[in-house]
């Protein structure tokens, strides 16, 4: 099992057949690329549930927030139909997640083609609830998180959430 994950809100990627203009715009925005995004659009290449948990932890520790995380699953072959997947060491706060990081270093037009394809397929993002995010964080060794504000936040969160 190998696939890509991209952080993308379920309100845009709801899997519903009816694609309103607002939902299409939100879906396009979730793959939006600005000049400041010099590397491309971030994705993570995962090979199983342990990797998915690392990605969830990486996003949570980077934004330092125990909240919902929505992830969109992309199959390797459906992505490579539109362009290549480039290696790019991640800069998340969770060190073991960084080797999973990849980028779609594509033009906005090419990214829009992928989005349209996924909307036709009625792709739905998977939601990781705050409870699920907490469970992932409680299992994460602090030493897996870079020293500094992210590790401090993780330790504090683990102490708070582990209290009976």
């Amino acid at each position: 099992m190998s696939f890509l994950l991209r952080q993308a809100r379920r309100s845009a990627w709801s899997g519903e057949e009816d694609v309103t203009e607002e939902r299409r715009a939100a879906a396009l925005a979730s793959f939006g690329r600005r000049p400041e995004d010099t590397d491309g659009v971030s994705v993570f290449a995962v090979a199983g549930e342990a990797d998915v948990a690392l990605v969830v932890a990486a996003i949570a520790c980077t934004k330092r927030e125990v909240g919902t995380i929505d992830l969109l699953r992309l199959e390797d072959d459906e992505v490579t139909r539109f362009g290549s997947i480039s290696e790019s060491e991640g800069r998340t706060a969770v060190l073991p997640a960084n080797p999973l990081h990849r980028v779609l270093n594509w033009t906005p037009e090419k990214l829009a083609e992928l989005v349209s394809h996924l909307l036709v397929l009625r792709r739905k993002a998977t939601r990781h609830s705050p409870g699920a995010v907490v469970a992932v964080l409680l299992a994460l060794p602090p030493t897996d998180v870079e020293e500094g504000i992210a590790r401090d936040w993780l330790v504090k969160t683990q102490q708070e959430k582990a209290r009976p």
Binding site: E36, S42, E146
Partner: protein, 244 residues
Amino acid sequence: MTASAECSPLTTAQSTTSQPQRPLQPPSPLTTGYQPFGIPRTESECDGMLAAAEWRIREQPALRRDIAADVARFLGASSHLWTTSRRARLERVLISAGPGTLGCVFAIVAASPRDEVVDHAVRVLVAAAAEDEGVTRTLVSLLSGSRGQSILTQAPSVREVMLRALSNSTGTVAGEAKVRVAFVLAKGDPSPAVRDAAVQALSVMGGRDAVAILTGLLGTLRETEENETVLDSIVEGLETLSGR
């Protein structure tokens, strides 16, 4: 976030009469002759830009809003240059720029409502609110339209950022008002993304009443809510709360 509340430019501005009349409006660089930073391509360029922004914020107060509008472009930037520590440094630059920062951050979120941008914008607002509870009051005020301007004139992504910042802010101010605002948006905001964010905010902010609030909301929306994600969020919120 080491700056004390008394030296926070946010607090300083809000405790005087210089509170901005149009806090959501980003500045126009053309009005000041401000020269924007280039997009950094190396680590040293990125550090240099942050150092220059920090210096200019400190030494050129007249340009603070221009600097904030400029560097806010890098919120959630997808680049290997933006490490956790540099992102945190960017947050500090934005917070130290003062009250104009809110409008600059909202402008970027409206233009680029990508998840990483939204997440980073929430982070800035939460950090700002931690230093100055006036930020929380401002967000409540804006979301409730009590400044004479409907919040619906703002992009859905901006309303979402405000809601998430409110639900993550840890201050003690405006507790009931925060819940009231979220409840109104959960019931009636035209954007499903905002209704979804409002439901999630209620799960967090509702405290002991969260189950009752979400149960009431589910009863109200079961027949009228067209977006499955919003209904799912209510059910998932109730499941999470009952599992606590």
